[in-house]
Every structure is written in structure tokens, then in C-alpha cells.
Amino acid sequence: MEEEVPFLRLSGLSKRFGGVRALEDIDWDVRPGEVHCLVGENGCGKSTLIKTVAGVHPPSAGTIEIEGKDVLPLDPAKAKALGIQVIFQDLSLFPNLSVAENIAVESHLDGALKPVRTGQMKAIARRVLARLDLTLDLSALVSDLSVAERQIVAIARGLAAQARLIFMDEPTASLTRAEVDRLLAIVARLKADGIAVVFVSHRLDEVVEIAERVTVMRDGRKVGTWPVHEVDQRRIAHLMTGLDIDHAVVARDMSAAPPLLEVRNLSRRGEFADVSFTLRKGEVLGLVGLLGAGRTELALTLFGMSRAEGGEILLDGKPLVLRSNREAVRAGIAYVSEDRLSLGVVLPQSIEDNVNLAVMKGLANRFGLIPPRRRRQLAGEWVKRLAIKIPGLDRPVQTLSGGNQQRVVLAKWLAAAPKLLILDSPTVGVDIKNKQGIYEVVAELAARGVGVLLISDEVSEVFATCDRVLHMRAGRLVGETVPGRISEHEMEERIYA
């Protein structure tokens, strides 16, 4: 096994952008049919590494070998011809085209006047999906598919293009647990077909689950490669960050605190039914369940974006009727959405503008005008407190990394000083160090009496941050647990059983 020629071998690979070293002397290999995990914090050079192997960036030094042959210089077309496929985080699909056309898109590429053979494209798509043992409606538009289904289309497209090594950049960032399991099953199939898969992931539990080897990168260098059974999550986290991160249980008994939010028999047809719970001042309440369990729908109703059809909501003991999210903000409710890229921030606007977005009124002086100095002060203060890495307050949010964007969203709501903060999957796509930062903010807010409702897919996350955890299934609350009274494993069993 050890004597086998690796499919891909990098030796002494370096990449500089101007004076910045993005990759430094990387020696790395991927074996045929191997599942390999590449982990590291944001900005550690993972993406540069992928792009260099995919022929997007020419390396500054070093060699790239495929099956023992030096393949430099490399361009994207040549890399593809050698069987290297990259599935980018945004999936790069065509939402306006059918599933079949997306999968067999390569058959359009050469020439301009070649006839389109729909039957042939469908046959290609069907064959590839059959290899994955999956069915999808081939004539459905990709814009009608769920994220998980789109990912399948992206993988199928790689297979249709004769992939032998597939890089998946953050493939699980927007998937729920059940969908991740499905993806892992697909990866197992690829492996059985002799196709190597390199997973680039932030979520460490997956790394340990499916990979044979793990490579950790930090600051453009390779820290090392280990067989997966020699490292555990804690050690990987340590290798990635150089920090020791403590996942101790923090659950406190908050039953003496005054109730902040009381929800009684709340229902909305087709979304959730008969939901009752109490959230106390300063409490961190977890809400877990599968995608489609109604968690986000419940959160949107609590935030006034949709109206409940039955039941009541009490805030500070007073009945709360919300006709819009503006009223919710005025009542002291803040909501950080799951999809930070489309709902949470205004990407092309500056960091300062985004932080100030939810508090405009509060900043206004007696003439109703907002003094620029107060805006800048407020934004500057939150940037410092959340340790957001920014080049300047006037820079557009879209220039920041995902984790820092997430913290800008958080800053936006914290600046509004809410009573109740609803966090919907706040750490999706965020790396460990930044996650820890978010947890610290949550704990700090709770200590100041803010009630936090934390919606999450990750049991380890709610286990480590919440005082109590509610389980939601098919629109109903089906159970409540206290972290520490049962183990993390037991909790996972109860939720995903």
C-alpha cells in the first residue's frame, strides 16, 4: 500500500502573490481512491492550494506530479483533462438550466455550431447518477433543487467529466446532518470507484468520520499529515489554531430567573404546531432538529416575519403581536439569519453602514440626522469587541472572509442592544477560532441578561453553549434536555434517531 504511486504529488510547492506568501514549501500527496481531508483556518492557504493544483494559479516554485509525471505548466483545461475537478463552495451551477444539461455541460463546450443532443445528455446524466445510485428529475431546473440536490448535480458533473480526483471546498457548510450523511455515502461510492476525494472542511466531526488521512495547514504551511485514527477532533483543532479549545459544558440552572419570552401553543399551518416553551432572562436556549423541522419558520414568526395562526407570544409577561420585523426590532428582538450572505448583511455596503443598519433611529440627534462621528464610534467599538479583522470601517463587507462577515452581522444586532437574540445556525461555515469567538459573545450577552435562542444543527455546539436544549421534529417540540445531565452522545441519539 505504501509503495503505491500517489495520484497527485506536490513537492516543495510555493506560491507568492506579490510579497505575500500564500503557500510555503508544501510536500503533499493524494493516493488513488483515497478520501483525504484538508483542514485549516480561513486564510491558511487551502483555497490557494486547490487553485494551484486546478491550474488556476501557476506555482512560484516546486513541482506537481500526477501519477509520477511532472505536469507543469498547468492550465485549467489541462488539469481537467488530467481528471482534476474542483467543486467550489458556490457549486458553479447554472440555475436556469436543467439537471441533465448541468451534468453534461461539457458536451456543449467544444465548438459553437455542434447540434445539441438532448437524449445523449440525458443518457450521460442518467449513467452518472446511476453510478452514484441516485435519482433526480433530469429535466428539473437546478434553481428548483435544494442545496443538497444541487451538490449532487455538481458531483455528478465532475464524474461526467471523467474526474479522478475531486476537490470539494466546504461541501457540508450549508447541509444539515442528514444531508451530510447522504453526501458521505456518495463519497464512499466515489472511493469504491477509485476516485480520490479531497474534502476541505471546517466541521471536524466529519473529518474524523470519513477520511483516511488528514492534512492540517496553518499560515500557508503544511503542519502535517496523519492517518485519521491517530488524531482526534481536539488534536486537530489544536493543530489548526495552535490553541487549546475547551469544550466544557456550561449549562446553568436558570429556572430562578424571570421569564423573558413565553410561547404558548404557537401554530402556523404547514410549518409548526402547538409549540410552547419559556426562555428566561440571561438564558441560552438551544433549538435543534433536522432541516424542515420548522426551526427557522418558528424563528421567523418570533421575529415578526410571518404571522402565527394560533397561540400567543409573551415578552416580559406582556402579549406580543408582531405585524412586521420592524416591530420585532422595536420590541427588542434581534434575529441573525442562517443565510448571512443574502439576509444578514448588505454585501456591497461598508462595514460601518452594516453595523449601524439596525440602530439608525437610536443614533439620530434631535434633528433626526445621524452624526457620522457617532456612527463611526459605534461601529469601531463593536469591531474591536468582536475582534473582527477588517482593513477599514469603510470597506465593503463582501471583501471580508466568511467568519468575519458573520461577526459583522452579529455586531449589527448587538449594536441594537436586544432583549432577545435569535441566532439561526450562527457558525455554519465558520472556522473553529471564530466559532469560539461567537460562543464567547453569546455567553457575554447572556451574562448581561439577554435571552438567546440558538438554532443549530450541531449537537456539539448546543451541548457546549446552551443551558437547555429543545428538540423539534416535524413542526413540534418533542423533547427537552439539559447538557451535562445526559451525554453529548445520548443527546445526538435522541435528536437524530
Binding site: 458553479s92 447554472f94 455550431l113 445539441v116 429535466s139 404547514g270 424542515g292 421534529r473
Partner: protein, 352 residues
């Protein structure tokens, strides 16, 4: 595991009749056809001459020029761009060709070729501005519209050319029949040309790889670039084709009216754009069909002609067009949004 895997295909299947119907209901062409049938029935009840064969044929001929332009504009819209300058391009090509024919007495094939070349070149100039200089397409083409139209007015002095040669202005009839009422109904060159251009455009966009590449680029330009779609070439194809069809429409218009008037196409660009949008072509790119755009033209033609027959003011017609566009686009959005919400709930129940 296979159990879990099959859930991934939770999309309704094509063979499912209800899914097919849902899909049909989400197509703008479906709604447009419905509206056209209703409007048609209404007008034929109110204005007896409306559905007569001569009136319908006459309508087709009148709108053939706009339909030919709309085919070119449709290609640009699908590619993810927009072009405001095509009416000016049509005027310039028409006038230049008219000059060559009347002043220099060039033969027909040369005049037509020159006109088409001028149109295509102006289109390619747009493509170059948009692709190489990265000027937003609406800005680049507004600028080009100003420049080319003003140059035309400057050099022509606004003078029309009435001395077009006979080969240009002679009516060409492919088929004619006498109706029961004794009127003549003729299938003439403009109608035939419109059908040919529509067929060519349809074939190019649905049956040739270049068309699918255009759809792909309009749907996700970044992804198209990543997988190696020839972006530069596609810009020239789209804007060049629009220039070509604009020139063709320009010369066709002169053929119909027997003269070349420099400002004959004033405001045509907005009418054609309205028709394309009505027909479901998306201004964000990647979406739209030839039948849809043609139906958009048909609806506009019917509204104008029908209201005319009823003796309604032409300002009122503009109001109706505006309202029709608002209503038809919102119906499309609402029906697709409803589809999405129902699907979300369906998913929730499968997890129960």
C-alpha cells in the same frame, strides 16, 4: 444506506402528470397565451373586424419589423446583457444602405450585404465596449445609441430618402388568397422573413451548442468562465447577432414604407424591449424563449390594433401596455413563489 440515498431525489418526476402541469403553470408563455386568448375573444366581440383574416395578416406584417429586432434582443437578454442601441443601429444601416442604393446605384446584393455588415459591425462594437472595456451593457449601449443616432441626424440633416430603387420597394407576395368577403390576404416578404428569423433564432438557441453556451453564460457567468465557456466569443455572437437582425429589420422597414426616414425608429427600442420582457425574457439573463418573445409581440400588436379599432386614444394604449407588463410579470413571480412555498412544506412532512 440506499434508503437514505433515494430521499435525495425528492423532486417530483417529469412523468408525474401533476408535476408537468405545475411546471407548465410556471411558464410565462402559458400565462401569456391565456391572456392573448382572453384579449382576442374580448376584441373580436367588441370590434367585429378584429379577427378577420386580412386584419390578422396586416397586423403580422406591421409587427414583423419589431419581431425581427426582438429576436436579436432576445439573444442579448439571454446572454445576460441588454442593448438599447439596436433601433439606432437599424436606422443607421437602413440609411447607409439607402444612400448606397439611391446615390451610387449599387446592385441589390451589394446593398443588402453592406447594410447587414454595418449593423453587425455596430453590434460587435457594443460587444467590444462591454467585454474589453468592462462597461455595463446598458451604459455602453445608451452611449452608442446617442452617438450613432446623432451622427446619422448630423450627416443626413434629417432628410429622408424617397428615391429607393424598385427592387427594394416592390412588394413580394409568396401566397395570396381571397376571403369570403372579397378581401385579399397576402403572405408577403416581411411575414416570411419574420418566420425565418424566428426559426433560425430558435434553432440557434435550443439546438446548437452556441445557444446553450449563451444560456449558461446568462445563468451564471462566473461558473461559465470557470468551466471554459468562450465568454469573449459569446459577447460578439450575441451583440453581433442583434446588430445583424436590427439591420435586417431596418431594411425591411424601408421595403414596407418605400422610403428611408432617419428617425423612423424613434422609441422602437422600448416597445421591443417591452415585448421581450412580456414574453418572459429575464433582464438578469439566462431565461426566455423564442415562442415567449413572439407571444409578447403578438399581445402588444393585438392591444394596439384592438384599441385602435375601438377608437381609443393612443395614450390609453401606452397605459395599457404599462399595466400589462406590470401584471404579467407579477403573475409569473407570484405563481413561481407559491410553488416554492408548497414544496417547502412537502419537505417538512417527509421528515416526520
Amino acid at each position: 444506506m440506499p434508503d437514505a440515498l433515494s430521499v435525495a431525489g425528492a423532486v417530483p418526476h417529469a412523468s408525474d402528470g401533476r408535476a408537468g402541469l405545475t411546471r407548465l403553470r410556471r411558464r410565462p408563455e402559458f400565462w401569456l397565451l391565456l391572456v392573448i386568448l382572453i384579449v382576442g375573444a374580448l376584441f373580436s366581440a367588441l370590434a367585429p373586424g378584429f379577427l378577420s383574416l386580412p386584419n390578422v395578416i396586416d397586423l403580422l406584417e406591421t409587427y414583423s419589423v419589431q419581431a425581427v429586432m426582438a429576436m436579436g434582443l432576445f439573444v442579448v437578454l439571454v446572454a445576460g446583457g441588454i442593448d438599447i442601441s439596436f433601433a439606432a443601429t437599424a436606422s443607421v444601416s437602413q440609411y447607409c444602405a439607402a444612400l448606397l442604393a439611391s446615390q451610387m446605384g449599387l446592385p441589390a446584393p451589394l446593398v443588402i450585404l453592406a447594410g447587414l455588415l454595418i449593423g453587425t459591425a455596430l453590434g460587435c462594437l457594443n460587444a467590444a465596449l462591454i467585454f474589453y472595456l468592462r462597461i455595463t451593457s446598458i451604459i455602453a449601449t445608451i452611449a452608442m445609441m446617442s452617438v450613432s443616432f446623432s451622427l446619422l441626424m448630423y450627416f443626413s440633416g434629417g432628410r429622408s430618402i424617397y428615391t429607393l430603387p424598385d427592387w427594394w420597394t416592390t412588394r413580394i407576395t409568396f401566397f395570396q388568397t381571397e376571403t369570403a368577403s372579397g378581401d385579399l390576404a397576402r403572405i408577403t416578404l416581411p411575414i416570411v422573413l419574420m418566420i425565418v428569423v424566428a426559426l433560425v433564432t430558435w434553432a440557434m438557441m435550443t439546438r446548437l451548442s452556441v445557444g446553450r453556451q449563451l444560456y449558461a453564460m446568462g445563468g451564471n457567468a462566473e461558473a461559465a468562465r470557470r468551466i471554459g465557456v468562450p465568454i469573449a466569443r459569446l459577447h460578439f455572437v450575441a451583440y453581433g447577432y442583434l446588430g445583424f437582425t436590427a439591420a435586417l429589420a431596418g431594411m425591411l422597414q424601408a421595403h414596407r414604407v418605400g422610403e428611408s426616414v432617419p428617425n423612423a425608429f424613434a422609441n422602437t427600442e422600448l416597445a421591443v424591449l417591452s415585448a421581450a420582457v412580456l414574453g418572459g425574457a429575464s433582464l438578469t439573463g439566462g431565461i426566455g424563449t423564442v415562442p415567449g418573445v413572439l407571444l409578447g409581440i403578438v399581445l402588444l400588436a393585438m392591444l394596439q390594433n384592438g384599441l385602435n379599432l375601438l377608437g381609443v386614444s393612443s395614450y390609453f394604449f401606452q397605459i395599457v401596455i404599462g399595466l400589462t407588463i406590470l401584471v404579467s410579470t407579477s403573475v409569473t413571480v407570484i405563481s413561481s413563489r407559491r410553488g416554492r412555498r408548497l414544496r417547502g412544506i412537502g419537505e417538512a412532512s417527509t421528515h416526520g
